[in-house]
Symmetry: C2
Subunit: 444 residues, 2 copies
């Protein structure tokens, strides 16, 4: 196919073939992508193909609630159950098989401490008590009468990506490595409305949130966040919550560590001090090089991840033009910029951010890449609106030590070999050698 190769955007703007993000945005451009469709062009000189078999028979009937195509049956969550208690643990969203920014409800990541309770919504109650003028129960019907708010935001487990602390680079696919994060439109009653309703004591500093699962999950939430943007969520992507995501009621704290977004929410008790629950002392804390533990690390820092191409994929069609596509997000607000490198971080080019760029939500970034067939090393680096820059792995390890387990948000590096095979690597050999822990403890 003949191409108009005169576009100024076809000149690489960073090493190893990264092209200007505007390449695909200008109208009327013929890409130098003839090899992509050369085979097809030959085919097109023949007559159109015969009618496929599915045009010869009537199609399938209506369904009351639709399901994915059978051909997509490998696009599933990846469960990693606890060895002793198989209904507990986590399951990963297959980020590497998705595009756009919304996670479909069937693929939202899961994290359970004792399985998914089967709650009758007519019997479920939210008790709001403690340091309030008037304690109260709320039924789901009560809550449904209150004014609602919607927010598209991510929820991310504090333990997401923790294989990044491992000695050797994990070769799990991108989603099964970094997919304890998902992004939905959550709708429900602002928690501030309900706290006003019960008359929260001005001296209350914390809310102890309790879940109605068999684990009786509990954790402490600062009142400041509760009054800011917390949502008592009833709906997820338009429909009522899914059981594994807290049906019938879940606390959503946009941008904050997943464990605080308590599912199956049963009670909120206003207190002066945090409860020092297991999941804020023995778990969800980070052991620092000093030997002290960092607690209450609520906000999820900026992070990014190239989802395509990513670990386990092969650039089957050989050298040529590819789209590099990925996700970035920050618990502190909007993503300001994502830079991509194809030469292991020597040079960087800014990726296109898909509008709308929403605060505390997945932001899809994309950039064209002309792969020349030689080995390449792909990275992405997010910057959020506070100016925070996603760290390299060695920076993160230097700051946090090696016993963190939680809050791993370092730059992810994908190596592409001359066959187009993509693997996960650590940039520095030294980093691999001196690592001394293995994250293989499973999930309680």
């Amino acid at each position: 196919m003949s191409g108009n190769n005169k576009s100024p955007y076809l000149t690489p703007i960073a090493g190893n073939g990264l092209l200007d993000r505007r390449l695909f945005l200008q109208g009327g451009l013929v890409l130098g992508a003839a090899q992509l469709v050369a085979g097809n062009a030959r085919a097109a000189r023949q007559e159109p193909a015969a009618r496929p078999e599915w045009m010869s028979v009537p199609g399938q009937p209506f369904t009351l609630y639709g399901q994915p195509a059978g051909y997509e049956d490998e696009v599933v969550r990846y469960p990693s159950p606890n060895r002793q208690m198989r209904n507990s643990g986590a399951s990963w969203t297959p980020l590497h098989m998705l595009e756009g920014t919304i996670t479909p409800n069937g693929l939202h990541y899961e994290r359970h401490h004792n399985g998914v309770p089967q709650i009758n919504p007519d019997e479920h109650r939210l008790l709001v008590h403690g340091m309030v003028r008037q304690p109260a129960f709320f039924t789901i019907d009560n809550l449904l009468r209150y004014p609602m708010r919607s927010q598209i935001c991510f929820v991310e487990c504090g333990g997401n990506s923790n294989a990044g602390w491992n000695k050797a680079p994990s070769q799990a696919e991108a989603g099964y490595f970094h997919g304890l994060v998902s992004c939905s439109e959550w709708t429900g009653v602002p928690l501030s409305t309900i706290l006003s309703e019960v008359g929260l004591d001005k001296k209350a500093g914390w809310l102890i949130a309790d879940g109605a699962d068999a684990f009786a999950m509990n954790i402490s939430i600062p009142v400041e966040k509760a009054m800011d943007d917390a949502i008592l969520a009833l709906y997820q992507n338009g429909e009522r919550l899914r059981p594994e995501n807290g049906y019938p009621l879940r606390l959503i704290l946009p941008g904050w560590e997943g464990v605080l977004n308590v599912k199956w929410l049963r009670s909120l008790k206003a207190t002066a001090q945090p409860i020092m629950a297991r999941n804020e002392t023995a778990r969800y804390t980070e052991l620092l090089p000093s030997g002290k533990a960092r607690m209450f690390t609520f906000t999820m820092d900026a992070k990014s991840l190239i989802t395509s191409p990513s670990g386990g994929m092969v650039l089957k069609q050989g050298p040529g033009l590819y789209q590099v596509s990925g996700l970035a997000w920050s618990g502190r607000g909007r993503i300001e910029q994502v830079d991509v490198s194809a030469d292991g971080g020597e040079t960087w080019a800014p990726a296109e951010l898909q509008a709308p760029v929403l605060p505390k939500a997945f932001t899809r970034f994309r950039i064209p890449w002309q792969w020349d067939g030689a080995p390449a090393v792909l990275k992405s680096r997010a910057v959020d609106e506070t100016g925070y820059v996603q760290p390299e792995r060695e920076q993160l390890v230097a700051a946090q030590g090696r016993h963190g387990f939680y809050h791993y948000n370092a730059i992810v590096t994908w190596s592409v070999d001359e066959y187009g095979t993509v693997t996960h690597v650590y940039t520095s050999e030294a980093q691999q050698a001196d690592s001394d822990i293995s994250i293989d403890a499973g999930w309680d």
Copy 2:
């Protein structure tokens, strides 16, 4: 519960109790909503309830692909199959049971002309030919290499809401009356990219799009729209398309009539003139009072709908504070304003629009309403960024006559009686009496 009723926002700003949209947005307000939780307040003086049974047993295990809660099994699409050909027709999205703006994929409306084909994506081809420099086939794998774009937008059937033309007001629930519209994040390759790739002839004015279903759906698309914002969609809300929504490839024309968003897209042929297919001549046209038919009415005009409370619902908890919530959308761009009336249109108050307000997408509007227990008449009226104002039914009928069948976008009126029962009414008795057609022909 004691309430601080001093908020200036508790003074009605329009007839029959419509309150300022800012009532729920200000911090620290105690609503005058004591009656909502009076029963609960009594309960709260007792000890917290005993642990529910689901806290006494381990929960359910992980699922690879999640499903809605069993208690939500009535939240389904409503199929209206053709009597002679039961796999054809339409199925409605239950808008009255949803909140927020995203439609979950399992509930996206359907419109089929001969059922849902079961397409093997590895065998599917898109042929782009006709007035192009170089005709070409594209496999799904080819398309997946191209740069993508995502857009959250609605798709609406031209025949949506057509029971509005009926002589008597339909008493179907809001979604089963107006739910041939849904809103998703669509991701795919800009059609302009592919048309550049094949070298579209400057003299081509139309693209004839063909579907790979047994109906062999075809229709004409203006090149101008194709080059503007049309998407060759591969993903819907993050995951690959569902079969009933065009798997593996669908044309998305943001804001344009559903029938043009060709599913199971098989070929695009560039031509000088439209093909004058059945679905742009015998169907999807509107017979005007003059006897002429209006054709090529591509853009879906602004529309709004109160989804709660809406037809068939009952305000069970009696007089008091309610949230009026609904959806607005326009094929011409952003929704600028939605006004709500509780007195049948005598007075109006502006509703709050949930951010982000995106062009050609569902916009959720909400406004607080203090129902005094007397009969009330609720309406919503959308205004889009072009200044277009959603018409009253009598205006629409005066302009379009009674034989339109398609493009019904009049203001919807819900009557609330003294028992809180909500029914659909036409504002003018005269309108009911002189109607002479019944839309009961089913869908071919």
